[in-house]
């Protein structure tokens, strides 16, 4: 499904060191990704995520470093080379979508095809299937102002994908949506990104979006990469207090049947939402309680675990647990001392169904 278009010199498809100096702020972020990979840049406001995205898009030149895509240089300050946005094989989904208000949904999607030389009719004919794929065929004639937030997001995605970009950039793609729409759109975006055959880079400050959508997280703070890796890895082994707070989330994927979600390895999680089909279950580490002996508890999820590691983050201990399923638990130092936890300690972990969140994958 993912064509291997690796350059003959075995460089990654996206190969960049993004260095941008702006006054006192310096962004210096190395990035690399293979075709089919979804990369999430995660960080607080002002961390430099948007600057990185603009540099990738060609809306902002690098001060130093380099940017290569599929082996072709796009920006190389040392050689005085800079290909502006309109010359890059990219697609961008902006945070507030920036759909052209004077064009219909169809003409918005057709816009990039028109600039590539297609005549109006041909561009529309090629744009329509993209709207159909997004389930928006009947809204093709509508102006963006008449579209709901979720519909506008899908039109923006269709517009970016219609030009068949080699690098898809998404800036806070779900931030403008309300909570309910967000669930649906997030699930759908996940499928679209999974299908996408080239490199996708996503910028977000929402750890859940990042963990659900991305294959790899790159956490940025103050213009630097503070940690990167697979979402579960980063969540369970946070390197800074900030990451521990930010991505403190136990996240599992399984199959829902009513209020039960069965994980691929057979474990069953009880949840509070009634769902059917592929689903995610998430709960924060402080929803997990630990016990030395099997507790008499009303908690529906109870697992025998082994402590794998223990880290102090701020005023909390983050306990890394192995067992039937990997778990992270947050404890106060007092609780950790009372339980006398050390690596290898066997404990019972309990999670109330009401403290979990399940949503369709």
């Amino acid at each position: 499904m993912k064509p291997s278009e690796a350059a003959p010199d075995a460089r990654p498809a996206l190969d960049a060191r993004l260095t941008v100096s702006r006054g006192a702020f310096t962004l210096d972020v190395p990035l690399s990704a293979e075709p089919g990979e979804v990369l999430a840049l995660l960080g607080p406001n002002g961390a430099g995520k948007s600057t990185a995205l603009r540099a990738l898009a060609g809306l902002l030149p690098l001060s130093d470093g380099h940017l290569r895509l599929d082996g072709a240089p796009l920006d190389s300050p040392a050689d005085g080379l800079f290909r502006p946005a309109e010359q890059r094989p990219i697609g961008v989904v902006f945070q507030d979508y920036l759909l052209f208000p004077h064009l219909s949904a169809l003409d918005n999607v057709a816009f990039g095809l028109r600039t590539r030389g297609l005549r109006r009719a041909a561009a529309r004919a090629e744009a329509l299937p993209w709207l159909e794929r997004m389930g928006l065929a009947e809204h093709a004639g509508r102006r963006p102002a008449k579209l709901s937030g979720g519909q506008a997001q899908r039109v923006a995605l269709a517009r970016a994908l219609a030009v068949r970009p080699r690098l898809l950039l998404l800036d806070e793609p779900l931030a403008a949506l309300d909570a309910r729409t967000r669930l649906d759109v997030r699930a759908e975006l996940r499928h679209r990104l999974a299908e996408f055959e080239a490199v996708a880079v996503l910028v977000t400050h929402d750890p859940l979006d990042a963990m659900v959508l991305a294959d790899r997280l790159v956490v940025i703070e103050g213009g630097r990469v503070v940690q990167s890796g697979r979402p579960a890895e980063v969540a369970r082994h946070p390197r800074t207090d900030y990451i521990a707070r930010l991505v403190g989330l136990n996240l599992y994927q399984g199959t829902a049947d009513g209020r039960r979600v069965t994980l691929p390895e057979g474990q069953v999680l009880a949840t509070d939402e009634d769902l059917t089909g592929p689903a995610f279950v998430a709960f924060p580490p402080d929803a997990v309680t630990l016990h030395r002996h099997r507790p008499e508890t009303s908690a529906r999820n109870l697992f025998p675990c082994t402590v794998a590691g223990l880290d102090l983050h701020g005023d909390r201990f983050r306990v890394d647990l192995t067992g039937p399923l990997p778990l992270a638990a947050d404890l106060t130092p007092t609780a950790a001392a009372d339980l006398d936890l050390t690596p290898g300690t066997r404990v019972w972990a309990a999670v109330k169904a009401t403290q979990t969140h399940a949503y369709p994958a």
Binding site: L59, Q87, F100, H102, L169
Partner: protein, 282 residues
């Protein structure tokens, strides 16, 4: 720096102090009186025009060949001047709103100078530059045989000189108000700067361009000082409505009133059109 899951603090749930009920405040006489006087000052002369209008002889006055000639010339030259202003003024406004270059503030000041410059001075200046012996006019005459002063083209030039700043200011304001990120979005879709301007920016600021064009057209229609200085006052060639009104005041005041009524009607129509179509939209 707070994390994204930091609790949201609500600020100032209730405005402090008591709220003044709407419309309850009394308007001080010291403000009301001069305000009403000012209103009367602006409106009464126009009412006077209507009161003293020779309504009975109006049809005869307005169907006279001189009036038609002047009106036709006025409409034609004002429209051409607006066209010239659009052709040159919109790109100029874009340059001022979307690019950075040294001396941009100075250029902007120069562009708006004709707004405050007495039109007669503008006419003199045009004569000095584009007149038969002018700095540029000499070459124009020598190379193409074209002379601008005292021709209908000269009327258009004089009107465009005075009217274009209105268009530039209006369009520049619209461009500044329009989100430049739409142009970035167009760029990421492969649009060159010119394509983005043509297919995204222009449609977005169309209301501003329309408002500017109407303002420029109205200004060109009423232009007097620069026109009479640069183009003279030849019936059928350079005598526009305002010039005809002024001249008629000396010989035939009733005709002057009739001509003024026509211009007033056009102005009111323009204002009404502006309010409904453009002034309400940001």
């Amino acid at each position: 720096m707070t994390g994204p899951d930091a609790p949201r603090t609500t600020t100032a749930p209730h405005p402090r102090g008591r709220r003044r009920p709407r419309g309850a405040g009394r308007v001080p006489a010291a403000l009301l009186l001069p305000a009403l006087l000012g209103l009367a000052f602006l409106v009464l002369p126009l009412l006077g025009l209507l009161v003293r209008a020779p309504w009975r002889s109006l049809p005869a006055l307005l169907t006279g060949p001189e009036v038609w000639q002047a009106l036709k010339l006025s409409l034609l030259s004002a429209t051409l001047a607006t066209g010239v202003s659009l052709l040159l003024g919109v790109p100029l406004a874009w340059l001022l709103a979307r690019t950075e270059f040294p001396g941009r503030r100075l250029v902007r000041a120069l562009v708006t100078l004709p707004l405050v410059l007495p039109p007669v001075v503008g006419g003199v200046a045009l004569l000095l530059v584009l007149g038969r012996n002018g700095v540029l006019g000499r070459w124009l005459d020598a190379w193409t045989g074209v002379t601008l002063p005292f021709t209908t083209t000269g009327v258009v030039v004089a009107e465009a000189f005075v009217a274009m700043p209105f268009l530039v200011i209006s369009v520049e304001g619209a461009l500044r108000a329009a989100d430049p990120r739409y142009e970035e979005a167009a760029a990421t879709l492969g649009a060159s700067r010119l394509t983005a301007f043509r297919r995204v920016t222009l449609p977005l600021v169309a209301p501003g361009i329309g408002a500017g064009a109407v303002l420029a057209w109205a200004r060109a229609l009423g232009e007097f000082g620069a026109t009479i200085t640069f183009a003279g006052n030849f019936p059928g060639r350079t005598q526009t409505m305002p010039l005809a009104v002024y001249l008629a005041m000396e010989s035939d005041p009733e005709a002057a009133i009739a001509l003024s009524l026509v211009l007033l009607t056009v102005s009111v129509a323009v204002l009404a059109g502006l309010r409904d179509r453009w002034m309400s939209t940001p």
